[in-house]
């Protein structure tokens, strides 16, 4: 188990280093002189030179990279060009909003997908199965930004039940916050639910044909007990992995969803920083997003090995 963890952690460190190089190089490939962007249009040559000196833009590129990584490791990602606020501080105020959105959509997705997927597998080839598969296919195919617009059209413009946009912090007014987060979370949750539903169904079908399920039935256990006590737990293992891999999609979805519902979260911050050409902010948010993805998948791998002992046995034998 320990070997497996060390091996996975080492791979993650390598991946994170490569990510930091890609982000660093990427931002430097953006056309335009960063000193001019920082100084604004009115700066003279001396002003530009001063900025280049101050931010070390004249140093060799590898040196600049190492300094940037060193600062990033100490939690300093520079400051926003536009607001002069620290990037870490800006992210720290926006991130909780997106985490709440992601958590609510995860709840909606799991709440829909797992029961529906299990039902479709247990009642295979019945109308339930067909309905679930159809719903899953529609969920994968519907562009979530259009779904968002349609929900606004129906529930806000036509019926006037829910506010179309705006955000109220959770701690200020929890009820109003949830009312405003309902549509964005639903939009973000449906795409995830569609993928999870399919995965749950497939893995449940596989588990239900396993020998130990047959044994459980043959010793006289009720169908309900077999499904709930024996099958679901094992069938959820691949679902957890898919959930980890879907975190990236969730992040991409959050960018669009927050844009439509004007939720001032991390996703909206990404788009804003790109439009305002706020490079330190772009660099910071992209680095944080990619690192979060790597860490989440590391956690998924670890939880996977806790759920399925065979994986860590393989890992310690050195062939995982």
């Amino acid at each position: 188990m320990f070997d497996f963890l060390v091996q996975r952690a080492a791979i993650s460190v390598v991946t994170l280093s490569v990510i930091s190089m890609i982000v660093f190089t990427g931002v430097r490939m953006i056309p335009g002189d960063p000193a001019r962007v920082m100084a604004g249009t009115e700066a003279d040559a001396a002003g530009l030179e001063e900025i280049r000196e101050k931010y070390g833009l004249k140093d060799p590129i590898p040196f600049q990279y190492l300094r940037w990584v060193g600062l990033a490791l100490r939690g300093d990602l520079g400051e926003s060009i536009r607001t002069r606020e620290s990037v870490v501080k800006v992210v720290a105020t926006k991130l909780p909003i997106t985490i709440e959105l992601a958590f609510l959509s995860l709840l909606i997705a799991v709440g829909i997908a797992i029961p529906a997927g299990v039902l479709a597998a247990v009642r295979r080839n019945t109308v339930w199965d067909i309905l679930t598969s159809g719903a899953s296919l529609c969920g994968v195919s519907v562009p979530n930004f259009w779904l968002g617009i349609m929900l606004i059209l129906f529930f806000s413009v036509r019926l006037g039940w829910l506010p179309a946009s705006g955000f109220v912090p959770l701690w200020e007014n929890p009820l109003d916050n949830l009312r405003r987060m309902l549509m964005p979370s639903f939009v973000l949750g449906t795409a995830l639910a569609a993928v999870l539903m399919r995965q749950t169904r497939n893995s449940m079908i596989e588990v239900m044909s396993a020998d130990y399920i047959r044994t459980a039935y043959s010793k006289g256990l009720a169908g309900r007990v077999v499904v709930f006590r024996h099958a679901i737990r094992n069938s959820l293992i691949p679902v957890v992995t898919i959930l980890g891999l879907q975190m990236g999609a969730l992040m991409s979805g959050a960018v669009v969803t927050e844009q439509i519902f004007v939720v001032p979260g991390f996703g909206r911050l990404i788009v804003e920083s790109v439009f305002t050409r706020d490079y330190p902010l772009v660099q910071g948010v992209v680095l944080i997003t990619a690192s979060a993805y790597v860490l989440i998948n590391l956690l998924v791998d670890v939880s996977y090995s806790l759920l399925d002992p065979r994986i860590r046995v393989k890992g310690s034998a050195g062939d995982a």
Binding site: P143, W146, V294
Partner: protein
């Protein structure tokens, strides 16, 4: 040629002639078993036809603004209504098909062109090279698809071509991983080992023995990836990072429509329905194709 081999060749000739017919018959049988996939494939072909024949399908110029007809509800003359500049929404949806298809298909072709050779080399040679390629791919995969595309468009500037390239590069690591995995499993097959024993070189083994055997899986992945790319193009254009106005892209149309939801909701229906039906049909067709080509792998 000895009489024996001639006889064999003669015996094979009719079989060769009937092979395409047999494949067609098999496809037809599959289509009957999977009506949903057949409908999906038919709708995809319909979209292809609309994309190619856009000038004939939509007779009205999609860029022609008419100030007398601003935000008019659907009528016979304008079956999908008109937009905020009095342009015909039907024409714009039809011409938008061309942009969506172009972005969807070309971006995935790019992903295949870049990803498959890299995956092939990684899986075939293994060792250090494989490790380096896979670590780079892992890092590449860690950037959420859309965020990578947004980043690339920022570097390259917003346009349809750049959006297509960005989406293609975003989809590339999936093809690298898939190809590598498939190559790893095929390299150990007896027929590959046999060809190697007969003296076939690396290039020949890869191009003649391994690649043809993994094409069907790659094709299936392509049909799954194209609808994702279509949505990605719409999203980039919706965010203002793809096709620039006044060009008729479904994403930019939805962006404009969002401002007029209370007075002109039809502006939001049609482009969205178009994206939905195109991606749904691709997914349906893809499901059928997967069963047809790759019954074992899935």
């Amino acid at each position: 040629m000895t009489p024996d081999t001639t006889a064999t060749a003669d015996a094979l000739a009719p079989a060769r002639a009937t092979a395409p017919a047999g494949r067609l018959r098999r496809a037809w049988r599959q289509a009957r078993h999977r009506p949903a996939s057949a409908v999906g494939a038919a709708v995809v072909l319909l979209f292809v036809a609309v994309a190619i024949g856009a000038p004939w399908v939509a007779s009205v110029d999609p860029l022609h603004a008419d100030w007398q007809k601003i935000r008019k509800a659907p009528t016979l003359a304008h079956p999908f209504g008109t937009d905020d500049l009095g342009r015909d929404t039907f024409s714009r949806v039809v011409w938008g098909t061309r942009i969506s298809m172009q972005a969807g298909v070309f971006s995935i072709l790019l992903a295949i062109a870049v990803g498959v050779p890299i995956g092939l080399v990684a899986g075939y040679y293994r060792g250090g090279l494989d490790q380096v390629i896979m670590r780079l791919t892992d890092a590449w995969l860690a950037f959420p698809f859309l965020i990578l595309a947004i980043g690339l468009v920022t570097i390259m500037g917003p346009s349809l071509t750049n959006a297509t390239v960005a989406i293609g590069l975003g989809a590339t690591p999936t093809f690298i991983r898939l190809t590598r995995g498939l190559v790893l499993s095929k390299s150990a097959e007896d027929y590959v080992l046999g060809a190697r024993a007969l003296g076939a070189g690396d290039l020949r083994l890869m191009s003649r023995h391994i690649l043809p055997n993994i094409v069907s899986s790659l094709l299936v992945q392509a049909t799954i990836s194209i609808p994702i790319a279509v949505i990605a193009e719409a999203v980039l254009s919706f965010l203002g990072l793809g096709v620039q106005p006044p060009a008729p892209s479904w994403g930019t149309m939805l962006n404009t429509a969002q401002q007029f939801l209370d007075t002109a909701p039809w502006m939001a229906w049609w482009p969205g329905l178009a994206i939905f039906s195109l991606t749904l049909s691709f997914n349906l067709a893809g499901d059928g194709l997967r069963d047809l080509l790759d019954p074992r792998d899935y």
